[in-house]
Symmetry: C2
Subunit: 481 residues, 2 copies
């Protein structure tokens, strides 16, 4: 840091106003971490709070982001772009307190609605739930409903390659982003214009989708929107096992159906969330089809036939309604972590021929090999003709000591990561790499790691953007467990 701390803060204040530079109190303290459970649980059992960043800056416009970035670049200060802070992988957690957090929260305007072409353009700091509510009032939907819906901002969803609960029909975030604007570390503003489709070189949106704040700051996003669907059908089925349920989903996906929701919960998760609805040991499959009336009729009939032929027992719409109502409740999560109990989620994906084996091996081995485990269960909730994801949730009760928390934490994560890689799966479906997956990113990417490194070098040659996230440093080792 070539500028003194105080003079840097004064320089930032002169750029955006004193009231938009936070140097003490709750805001810098909160922006020092995100929703990654590991540090949260460690703090709960006595680890020191991480030191706050130099300051948190809250720009209102792209021009302000640009002047901030260019000042910080000149002074070689690390920059952490910060959205809603709902990242559960440590992606927005500063790796050094000698950094400045750019908080996008004041850049939350809806800039334009393009009804003819079904697009909306927003500033990156808008909450996804606010966008959805605004669209709903006008007869549209966003089609993007991650569990972090109320907590996540649009720019963060782009930066982490988010997937929503209705992705099987509407696509994941990369299928929804039409154009965007971002600020490079030097302050240069780049805009990628929307087009229905183009062939003018590589699709430059993909530099930003999954960049996790390591290339620059996303300031504006143009997203697809959809008319409110005319019709909706919901139905739940009991299935005897995960393997049977996965086989059913594989069949309807490969035949060409695209239900908005196809969610298979294992027996443990089903028993917790749908008490008394199924028989012991059964899994539940939640289906939701929506769209034009004729489409929903055809799809629901086909799904019903495929599921019942495959061994599913109809349970009616109620379990799907229950899930819709409670799907984003995460209060329990915060209560447990505050008590020193590790509760975390790990999502991976693989082809249909491997996903069942990954599920079985993870659950069996974690249960057998991690004595501190309290519970582990999973669901599959994003389907493709080529495979699906698994979303594991686990709880573990380590001794009340930060080192023990870390040991237990990694002992579970390591197993899920290694088992997934062994079966040819991918270590993240939609949460991103952040800091938690850094130890396995080299194994994940293999020889293509050089492409990611070259991208980083091309976009941020000075290594100032969100250091320690996404890209492994030279000293990265796998946790010893």
């Amino acid at each position: 840091m070539s500028m003194e701390r105080e003079s840097l803060i004064r320089a930032l204040q002169s750029l955006v106003g004193k009231e938009r530079v936070y140097t003490e109190g709750i805001i810098p303290a909160k922006r020092a971490i995100d929703t990654w459970p590991l540090p949260t649980v460690q703090i709960a059992v006595g680890a020191p709070e991480p030191p706050p960043p130099i300051c948190v800056v809250r720009p209102r416009t792209t021009e302000e982001v640009s002047t901030i970035m260019s000042l910080l670049h000149r002074e070689r200060i690390p920059v952490i772009p910060y959205g809603g802070g709902s990242n559960v992988c440590g992606g927005a957690k500063a790796s050094t307190p000698d950094s400045v957090v750019i908080d996008l929260g004041s850049m939350n305007r809806i800039l334009s609605l393009d009804k003819a072409n079904l697009m909306v353009t927003v500033q990156a700091g808008l909450y996804q739930s606010q966008l959805e509510a605004w669209l709903n009032e006008r007869g549209y939907i966003s089609g993007h409903y991650p569990q972090s819906f109320d907590l996540a901002q649009v720019g963060g969803l782009v930066a982490t390659r988010s997937a929503g609960q209705f992705s099987t029909k509407y696509g994941c975030i990369e299928d929804l982003v039409m154009g965007l604007e971002a600020v490079l570390p030097t302050g240069e503003v780049v805009r990628i214009k929307p087009a229905p489709r183009k062939s003018t070189g590589p699709d430059l949106r993909h530099i930003w989708l999954g960049s996790e704040g390591t290339f620059g700051v996303i300031t504006e996003v143009t997203l697809k929107i959809f008319p409110k669907p005319a019709q909706r059908w919901l139905h739940a089925y009991a299935v005897p096992s995960m393997d049977v349920g996965l086989g059913i989903m594989q069949r309807f996906m490969q035949e060409g159906w695209r239900p908005a929701v196809a969610r298979l919960r294992d027996a443990v998760e089903t028993a917790r969330s749908h008490k008394g609805v199924v028989q012991e040991g059964e899994c539940i499959l939640l289906l939701l089809s929506e769209g034009p009336a004729g489409y929903v009729k055809a799809e629901s009939e086909a799904l019903h036939q495929i599921v019942t032929e495959g061994g599913g027992r109809p349970l009616g719409p109620k379990p799907v309604e229950d899930w819709l109502e409670h799907r984003n409740d995460v209060q329990e999560f915060y209560q447990y972590t505050a008590m020193g109990v590790i509760v975390d989620t790990v999502e991976v994906a693989a082809g249909w021929d491997q996903i069942g084996a990954i599920y079985t091996e993870v659950v069996q081995r974690v249960r057998k090999e991690v004595p501190e485990l309290v519970v582990i269960f999973a669901h599959s909730s994003h389907c493709y003709p080529q495979g699906t994801n698994l979303y594991f949730t686990f709880g573990a009760q380590p001794p009340r000591d930060p080192k023990a928390v870390e040991r237990v934490y990694w002992s579970i994560w390591s197993r899920i990561m290694e088992i997934t890689l062994t079966h040819g799966g991918t270590i993240s479906h939609h949460h991103g790499v952040g800091k938690v997956r850094i130890p396995w990113i080299a194994d994940e990417l293999g020889s293509s790691l050089t492409l990611l490194r070259r991208l980083k070098q091309a976009m941020d040659p000075d290594g100032l953007m969100n250091p320690g996230t996404l890209l492994p440093g030279p000293d990265v080792k796998k946790p010893q467990t």
Copy 2:
């Protein structure tokens, strides 16, 4: 070139065998150009044939590509990756004879079929039509049918961001590529593994999709496949104008329907291709729906209703059958260009609110302002909820002189490019940039041009890969017309 020509050829021969290094005759002569009409017509009216490259090398394996690339990199020799040679934009035309062409044509093996996950892995030099035939015998389809189907190789389709005639249902090439392997200029081999979906940083496949041979050589591709659809419905409709037809397509796309084919031909194209089927001045809309039986029934009923409500008059299936049978006939094209007549195609795309204006303005202005024009017509054939493409075909008869050919050629191209940009459209839907669109790429990309330049610098810092394609050099000017 640091090595003498002869010793370079001997070194290449020692790497791959003498019989795989072509130094004279038809092969080097043919690999000096691709299917770009401009040089072809110029040659037809007396321009000299372009000099052949140093040699054409035909590797059989990725390892051979790697050793070739690493030799050429050491010697600083420009490299032109060459697939089927069907590019109509000059993308595979060497900008200097002091280059070596790597012809992928001998790397045409099908490596594996993954029935469980509906994927096939092939070497990049396989013809798309051969892949389709092989899949058909096994009950699958590729879903990718560009007009260059018989001429194009898989690697070239990836490198140019191809779109097929059934893209509205099956997606364009970026929706079909699951994984790939490529060789960097240094000879380093990178592999991107397939996954149903992942969130492990930026999607690295997109570095290669649209790279047009300027970053390295694509050697292997894993593609989605589809089961042969159970049902197919075809129907044609007469519509009174392009605007009415575009409005109809906008409506069914935005309501959520995805016919495999939705092809709207303007009155001139309709009169040429469907003689006697419609009344004078009418356009034809060709629709094809395929998939599971219940889906096709629902979609065809909805489409029929939307089209007839919108002013379409049913013509039965015959015009669609005729189109299916003759859709890839391009003999006429070769005959005309050999006679010194310019026949070329230009595809652009834009939002629904601008596409009709682009169509009208292009056709009116080119007819009025280019006296050498013989004919211009267009169709729209790749639909999205956000807009569609226009595919212009034009014929022009310049004086039999290479300079006059160039002047007339650019006078038409300039108008289409400028009108598209003025209306906020994109200058290429699926043919790519090549050399023909280089003068407008800076206007197309605007501030995001720096991202493309940074990518190039990251992937090919010595600028050896396919120089003169995709990226504008410092001396690029718009043609004076």
